[in-house]
Amino acid sequence: MPEDLNSIVIKDVKFSYDIEEEDSEKAPRLALDGISVTIEKGSYTAILGSNGSGKSTLAKIIDILEVPDSGKVVIFGKDASDDNLFWDIRAHCCCVFQNPDNQIVGTIVEEDVAFGPENLGVPNPELRDRVDQALKDVGLYEYRHRETTALSGGQKQKLAIAGALAMQPDILILDEATAMLDPSSRDDFLTLVEKMRVEKGLTLITITHDMTEALRCDKLVIVNKGKAVMEGRPEEIFLSDNLWDYGLKRPVKFNFAFEIAKLTGSTLTKEDLRSDESLIAALTAMLKKPGIKAPEVSEDIKTQDEKDIIMSVKGLSYTYDGNDAKAIEDINLDIRRGEVLGIVGESGCGKTTLISHMNAIFRPSVGDIIIHTKDGDLSCRNKKDTMKIRQNVGLVFQYPEYQLFEETVFKDICYGLKKMGIEKAKMHKMAYDAALMVGLSNDEVNSSPFELSGGQKRRAAMAGVLAMQPGILVLDEPASGLDPRGRQEMFAIIKKLRDSGTTIILVSHNMDEAAVNCDRICLIDHGKIKAVGTPEELFIKERAEELGIQRPRISRFSGLLQEKLKKEFPGIVFEGMNFSPEKEAQSIVRSVCRAGGADVQ
């Protein structure tokens, strides 16, 4: 059989992590179940799929970090089952993983970059040249003598790229490498990787949950239950209607476009989806069609402007020991009862420091936080109030699943309640209520937290905080690392909590989600509050530019369409901004009907 020298060929590969036991009744769960994929040399491919679909395993198979149980893997004509080619294949394929900390071996930046080529036995001075060049390529050359632990998350991921480049690979695999980065480091990182791909002629494979990120690729492969269920160019894949079955969504702008198509009774083709220009041209054409019906205004249930303050932060400042700069400085903020307040800002701006004060994990030294409860005011400066504050203000840190420790989920949920000294019968009810709120079944509640899937663990850990029925809930990046479906479920839980009267403080660096889910947004920059206001106020183009923040993707794309429509319909008046793609689409169609409708009559 002639081997294809210019592609990665995966054929009928099966793989299971479970070790087969002789007397086990059930067959081992297959992580890969007869998957077949072909990836061209030099291409830019995204592998998409829900958590646990087998996409990371596929990446490991390509780098022969796992050996398939059956099936064939041929990398650029080299058969992976040939023991003589094993190291040759692995040496030419590099991976960058999700958690930056868990892939750094060296204490000093240049030592870490050298680790790969040292393993390959690259001699000096070539080794030195490679390390220096790789560090220059990623822009970390000035940091070469720094400690790796002193780097930021984005820098650590760039370091991982440098470590890969120093091995001079043909294939680079990014396994959710951007998942833990904030939006600006994310863009920075992807731009860098794409530049390297062009310069070094790499075959780039990225595994991601971010659909807009996937749009940058030439080809998408969708993996579900260990099989490749769809393969094609992004515009072909996103035309399909069954993405949701695989735990995926369309990118925001496509959701918006498909809603307009639906409202105007038109259909989109894959040519339309190819670029922003073609999509806007297609949408404009649709909107110019005669006889479009204006959709009714769907009533937005906004809570009336509640003036009741539940928590006030007063002149709060904090400096970490041994640091000169203040982590947060003179923060003044009132939180209204029943609202969802978003706290946004770049990594390291002081968001986590601020929320750590909110339930007295950090005791204010300058300034104070007052919590207004039915039983009077609580001050975070007052040590006696600590327990009451922690009961009233629930704080869920990022990746809360890492704090689970009990034998069963139920016991873990009860931990806080026990500490509060709540009687047993009441405790059980409160724990089950919390489990119900986050959607855990009875079976799950009685199993070990370490047997649950990632998303379930996250919800179990949240239940541990919710059980105390806090009036205020502070959530630090509650959806990070979850797939699109998991994110949607998480925000549904948040909405349910809000509807039941809980005040929510949501820390996020995803502007799309902050805009849709928050009543007000507080922007923090270098430890200070830069702006507070409703999403509609902050994300107006001029205001956002002035503040230096990225607008939600939907606003940016809708803005482009509106520019075009202004030329087609002089005098068109647009309604205010909407952050849900569907509502924004309806609002655009209504505006066009008003402008165009007048013409027809």
Binding site: Q103, E111, G416
Partner: protein, 269 residues
């Protein structure tokens, strides 16, 4: 609070001792370890203190860094001091009450013991951890113990394990801090209550920490695998160890100084 631990941490700087060959530093460390435990005379201890100060200057270690290294060990030094004061009954009695007897000899001895411990920590820091990156240290140990591989001791693997352990100290310290905060926000209390309760409280930290360490170990192993790690065979080094005349000179000089201290000590007994 855990993120400030400097035990086992590297202090990046360009100094004479930073650039000295780690093998020389390792051997010197062994020499000073012996010297610290042999000497008993205050004069000898004073001279040794002087040498240590000289080393601190040569390593460009600031008083702040030194303090953060010594500080966590002070309770232990104090403990040793107290134990010695109360248990040594020789010498002139200064104070006596019921079973407690304090003597001048006891105080002298206690001071010496506590100072020795502090010297030990400072020497470890100057000669090894603060001035030598973990990877260099593992290189040095690997080279020094290379003969052992002849009798099938996995020298390279052990050195690699040690360097990874040191590399992860700050990471795990930060993680401990994070987990403690998370549990505190659920009502955990690590400061008050009986001793038993405190110990029980730490279970809520230790279990998640273990689980996460295993997860990290797993991920790191895959990452190292992906970067073609396959043991010490055929590995090259970015910064191979070169023994220069300067290194040898430093080694001989400091060994002689240590010998001088020991000689002074014996001559005064």
């Amino acid at each position: 609070m855990f993120s400030k631990i400097s035990l086992g941490r590297y202090y990046p700087a360009h100094s004479f001792l930073h650039e000295t060959d780690p093998r020389v530093k390792t051997i010197l460390y062994a020499v000073y370890l012996v010297a610290i435990f042999i000497i008993q005379e205050p004069v000898a201890i004073g001279i040794l203190g002087g040498i240590i100060i000289l080393q601190l200057i040569l390593a460009k270690i600031t008083p702040g860094i030194l303090w953060s290294t010594v500080k966590p060990m002070l309770p232990l030094a104090l403990f040793i001091f107290v134990i010695n004061i109360f248990t040594i009954k020789q010498g002139n009695v200064l104070f006596s009450w019921k079973i407690i007897t304090i003597t001048d000899y006891g105080i002298g001895k206690a001071v010496i013991m506590a100072v020795r411990l502090i010297f030990l920590i400072v020497s470890t820091s100057i000669l090894l951890t603060l001035t030598t990156t973990p990877l260099k240290m593992s290189d040095a140990l690997e080279k020094l113990f290379a003969p052992l591989s002849l009798i099938k001791v996995p020298v390279h693997e052990m050195a690699m394990m040690m360097s990874i352990a040191l590399r992860f100290i700050p990471t795990l310290a930060a993680e401990t801090d994070k987990i403690m905060k998370a549990q505190q926000s659920r009502g955990a209390d690590y400061d008050t209550g009986s001793f038993i309760n405190k110990v029980k409280g730490y279970i809520t930290v230790l279990i998640p920490l273990f689980v996460s360490s295993f997860r990290r170990a797993d991920e790191l192993a895959v990452a190292m695998d992906a970067r073609c790690y396959r043991g010490g065979k055929g590995r090259t080094k970015l910064n191979p160890l070169h023994l220069t005349a300067k290194d040898v000179l430093a080694g001989v000089m400091f060994t002689l100084l240590a010998a001088l201290v020991v000689v002074v000590d014996f001559s005064l007994r």
